[in-house]
């Protein structure tokens, strides 16, 4: 039983990829057209994914065999509850792209726009593919599409430091991708298949063993690097801080989530097979998550550059998600999965608002930006909402995840981690309160800050929209649950105790 939308599944991947390929051609005469073109492509993709999600809600998960081959022989695309993540993802892209139209004026000459938007579309297409593929090797390929376009996007601002940050990102990212390829090959050798469901089934027949563990470990390390967890986070701060703000929003909000979604996919395979005892692994995740939260906050406190501190807060927030995953109780995992989306939203708000402020004033450190709220009230308000939200204070989107994960921690009888989570978040607020004080309650020190004007509407609109979403989702926290809950509950019977 599939509805009409099921047939459209491959188009959700193909559209942005083809759109990316066509971008330079479309914009050959007028480079600025590329921005509108990318937006148009993403809009259509958004409609498509909305259709896919509606199909999911109406009839449950569905598959599509590429090239007419049945699953397990051909490449299967599978749209399940975790795949529903593509809808908010594309919607965020749709919001971010208009912001970039005017923002890029200061970042790059017009003729470099078409490649920029092509890369952005590639990135989007890669992530959609990553979320909907049912094939392990395909998972690797889409990871690489996302990663490669991300490396390039970091450097797109065009100065030497950007290239250096991008190269650092590339080296670490490439190693993690290699680990992933190795793990994929290992699973193929063991099971003779690349289809996720099939692999899971056959692993169950084979049972455990060192080789199975090795593959799992390789996947885990690979995805931890992609998600920038604490000991392997070194690539993130520079890359995210130096990229143009719309790119930072994409990278920090969504690309790091590739690691998390990937981890969930691997969980699906291994839990389905019931071949792994994950107690120790979960314990490690919990500790790493808790350390990530604290260390991310700790580093952020010493930053004066607003984008750098936002980058560090990504590490903290990934810590929440990982902590939630490691706690392995229903509420905690639900909280983690919800935060995958909420954090993307909040981080996009913060990065775009920070970008607006940097764009209008030319400064990027707190001490220079004092008093900016007087001249840019709306953008600053968005920044304030984002800050309150990322700390997890109600009534904002950030609170929802804190609530669930804390609930999960007590549910799993891990009360110390519950306390760590709640009070670790307050620790982060030390930094943000400094930021808000500087923006709102201190007099300007620079004339360009005192005379800055609000951003044009194409930039302000997205920022205001995202900030209001942060508030709305804080109150209507139940919405993302519709998708997350069934998926998580599916997983949990096999979850390591």
């Amino acid at each position: 039983m599939t509805g009409p939308w099921a047939e459209a599944l491959p188009w959700a991947i193909v559209l942005p990829l083809v759109g990316a390929a066509l971008t330079p051609a479309v914009a050959v005469r007028h480079p600025r057209v590329s921005g509108f073109w990318a937006w148009g492509v993403l809009l259509v993709t958004a409609v498509l994914t909305a259709g896919l999600v509606s199909e999911l809600v109406a009839r449950g998960p569905f598959s599509y065999g590429l090239g007419g081959w049945a699953a397990s022989y051909g490449i299967e695309l599978r749209f399940d509850h975790f795949s529903a993540w593509v809808l908010p993802l594309v919607v965020l892209f749709v919001v971010i792209v208009p912001f970039s139209w005017r923002y890029l004026d200061h970042v790059m000459p017009d003729e470099r726009r078409p490649p920029f938007y092509a890369l952005l579309l590639l990135n989007a297409g890669g992530m959609i593919g990553f979320c909907v593929t049912g094939d392990l090797f395909n998972l690797f390929v889409f990871t690489e599409v996302v990663s490669l376009s991300s490396y390039a996007l970091v450097a797109v601002g065009g100065r030497g430091l950007a290239a250096f940050a991008a190269l650092k990102y590339l080296f670490i990212g490439a190693v993690s991708s290699l680990l992933m390829l190795f793990a994929t090959a290992q699973l193929f050798v063991l099971s003779g298949s690349l289809n996720m469901a099939d692999v899971s089934l056959r692993l169950g027949e084979i049972g455990g063993g060192t080789a199975v563990m090795v593959a799992f470990a390789a996947y885990a390390v690979s995805f931890m690097v992609k998600a920038a967890m604490f000991p392997v986070h070194v690539w993130l701060p520079d890359a995210h801080a130096i990229a143009p703000s719309p790119v930072s929003a994409v990278l920090s909000g969504m690309v790091v989530k590739v690691g998390i979604v990937g981890m969930l996919r691997i969980y699906q395979i291994y839990f389905g097979a019931e071949v792994l005892e994950l107690g120790a692994f979960n314990l490690a995740l919990v500790w790493l998550g808790a350390i990530s939260i604290v260390m991310g906050a700790f580093f952020a406190i010493f930053q004066d550059d607003i984008k750098l501190m936002l980058a560090y807060s990504t590490i903290s927030n990934i810590g929440y998600i990982v902590l939630g995953l490691g706690l392995a109780s229903p509420y905690a995992v639900i909280g983690a999965a919800v935060h995958v989306f909420n954090h993307a939203l909040i981080k996009a708000t913060l990065f775009l608002a920070a970008g607006s402020i940097i764009h209008q004033t030319g400064f990027r450190t707190l001490s220079d930006l004092r008093g900016v709220a007087r001249t840019m009230p709306q953008t600053s308000a968005a920044m304030a909402i984002g800050a309150v939200s990322i700390v997890g204070l109600p009534p904002t989107a950030g609170f929802v995840c804190k609530w669930y994960i804390a609930l999960g921690a007590f549910e799993a009888n891990q009360a110390p981690f519950g306390f760590a989570l709640v009070f670790g978040a307050l620790f982060i607020f030390i930094y943000y309160i400094r930021m808000l004080n500087a923006f709102y309650f201190q007099p300007p020190v620079h004339a360009s800050v005192a005379q800055a004007s609000e951003t044009p509407w194409s930039m302000r609109g997205p920022v205001v929209l995202l900030a209001s979403l942060c508030l709305i989702l804080g109150v209507l926290g139940g919405i993302p649950l519709t998708f997350v809950e069934p998926a998580v509950l599916d997983l949990l019977p096999f979850w390591g105790q």
């Binding site: 007590f410 306390f419 709640v422 004080n437 309650f441 201190q442 109150v475 926290g477």
Partner: protein
């Protein structure tokens, strides 16, 4: 009887909307005042319109949205919530009038009035919260919304005060969150209920942690003694903020939270069995005396009032922790009694500062001649705190003493008497200086063309609030007055248990 009605959510929403309008169109003085007043009156009308129903035992409920499965953001106007929202919405009207006069010509008034409205919105939200989650949402929002008001002056001193305020309240909020989460785990629900929602089966250790977390969480705002540090420092805020928020809204939200925890989360029966309330009562008794003693030493007028507030708040906590109906009546009543008396005092202090520039007790010799009406109002409020009959404060003390005897804890009566003496000790010198000492230098004369001692926007709320203190004192048994609402509320708390211990 429960009735689904939209008014419990409309009441906080009105001031929320007002805040939005003030932020949007507040640059025009006219529209700012127009929206603020309109919202204040609409809100008061909304709350008053529910009053007759409440007196007959009707509870208005409204489920807003499901936040998580089974736990929604819900509103429920029971008698206790009604009582609290009546107090805060009435006082909002007066404080608005006062603030308009007081803040004339001050900076950033859009921000001030916007956040002011938000604070009132969240206060009523707290009053009508149906469950602990909703309560917590509004409780934390209140913290955030008051911060811009505390640091309004933007001086380094104000920023420091703001930082301390946030540190205290946010850490408290963290404890409250942990408490709420653990409650949900232990009880499976968060909806406030009359006999409480927790039970012995959760284990004494868990219950102790929950009680500790929730009491620390809400006790921070209620300024129970080791947690009171923020309150005197936050007095750096403009006087209307100190008046409404640090005498009424914020601290009362804390005290309200403590009572909710005692009566609607744990329940009288369970707490009697566990005996957790006794240390809390002892702490409250200590706070009453200690804070009053510190108040004696304060020369700064607002700081003296702040310590008086700390002492008075613990009356509420004590009343709640005694777990008897009469003491509970005193606790509920004191929310109104203390609010009206303390806000009068803050208004007067603000008027003194605005008219003469004086901020210290030692500077106000002979001010009674310059500001006769204001000082008369101050005297009434002071008498109320001392507990002179025919003032509101007497009613509280009377019931609290009866409640203490009912609980076989006569030593609290001694605490009350000591506190009364101490209250007299720190308020009467002010009156003495104001009336019986010669001014050191002539007071600045009335500006030409003014008929009153101080701008009438300042004087008017002062007089009304002082009159109300008297009214509360003499009309305790008149139906429709706060006392009757308080009794309905207390009946609700004790309905499942029955009377004395």
């Amino acid at each position: 009887m429960e009735v689904v009605d939209v008014r419990p959510i409309l009441a906080p929403f009105v001031s929320f909307l007002c805040a939005g309008l003030v932020f949007g169109f507040g640059r025009s003085i006219f529209w700012r005042r127009f929206f603020t007043f309109l919202a204040a009156f609409i809100k008061m009308a909304l709350v008053l319109s529910m009053l007759p129903g409440t007196l007959q035992g009707v509870v208005y409920v409204y489920q807003f949205v499901e936040f998580t499965p089974g736990i929604g953001i819900g509103f429920r106007a029971d008698a206790y919530g009604m009582f609290f929202s009546l107090v805060s919405s009435t006082l909002w009207v007066f404080t608005t009038i006062y603030a308009i006069g007081y803040m004339q010509g001050d900076r950033d008034r859009v921000r001030f009035f916007g956040f002011f409205a938000l604070c009132v919105s969240t206060t009523v939200g707290v009053a009508f919260a149906e469950n602990l989650l909703t309560f917590f949402l509004f409780y934390e929002t209140l913290t955030i919304c008051t911060y811009p008001l505390v640091v309004h002056a933007e001086t380094p001193e104000a920023l420091r005060a703001g930082r301390i305020y946030l540190t205290y309240t946010l850490i408290g909020g963290g404890f409250a969150l942990v408490g709420a989460v653990m409650t949900l785990n232990a009880a499976g629900t968060l909806t406030f209920a009359a006999p409480g929602i927790l039970g012995m089966e959760s284990g004494v250790a868990t219950l102790a942690v929950i009680f500790l977390c929730l009491i620390i969480g809400f006790g921070v705002k209620a300024a129970i003694m080791p947690l009171h540090g923020w309150l005197p420092i936050a007095m750096v805020a403009p006087t209307p903020v100190s008046a409404l928020l640090h005498a009424v809204a914020v601290v009362k939200v804390g005290a309200f939270g403590v009572t909710r925890v005692i009566y609607n989360v744990f329940g009288v029966e369970l707490l009697r069995e566990l005996g957790f309330a006794t240390p809390l009562a002892l702490l409250a008794g200590f706070t009453i005396v200690a804070a009053s003693t510190i108040a004696l030493t304060q020369d700064h007028l607002k700081r003296r009032l702040a310590y008086s507030t700390i002492s008075q708040l613990s009356y509420i906590v004590l009343g709640a922790a005694l777990l008897t109906p009469l003491a509970a009546t005193a606790a509920v009543l004191h929310i109104a009694n203390q609010a009206f008396a303390k806000i009068t005092m803050f208004f007067v202090v603000g008027a003194i500062t605005r008219t003469t520039g004086k901020k210290y007790v030692s500077e106000i010799d002979g001010i009674g001649a310059r500001l006769p009406w204001s000082m008369a109002a101050f005297s009434i409020a002071a008498l109320s705190f001392v507990g002179v009959p025919l003032t509101a404060g007497f009613i509280t003390k009377w019931y609290l003493a009866l409640g203490a005897l009912e609980a076989d804890a006569w030593w609290y009566v001694l605490v009350l008497i000591t506190s009364s003496l101490l209250n007299a000790g720190y308020f009467f010198p002010i009156l003495h200086r104001a009336y019986f000492r010669q001014a050191k230098e002539p007071w600045p004369p009335l500006e030409p063309g003014r008929r009153f001692e101080t701008p009438k926007t300042l004087l008017f709320p002062i007089v009304i609030c002082a009159a109300y203190v008297l009214l509360l004192g003499v009309t305790a048994e008149v139906p429709g007055m706060p006392f009757s609402v308080a009794q309905v509320a207390v009946d609700g708390f004790f309905a499942p248990v029955g009377g004395g211990p």
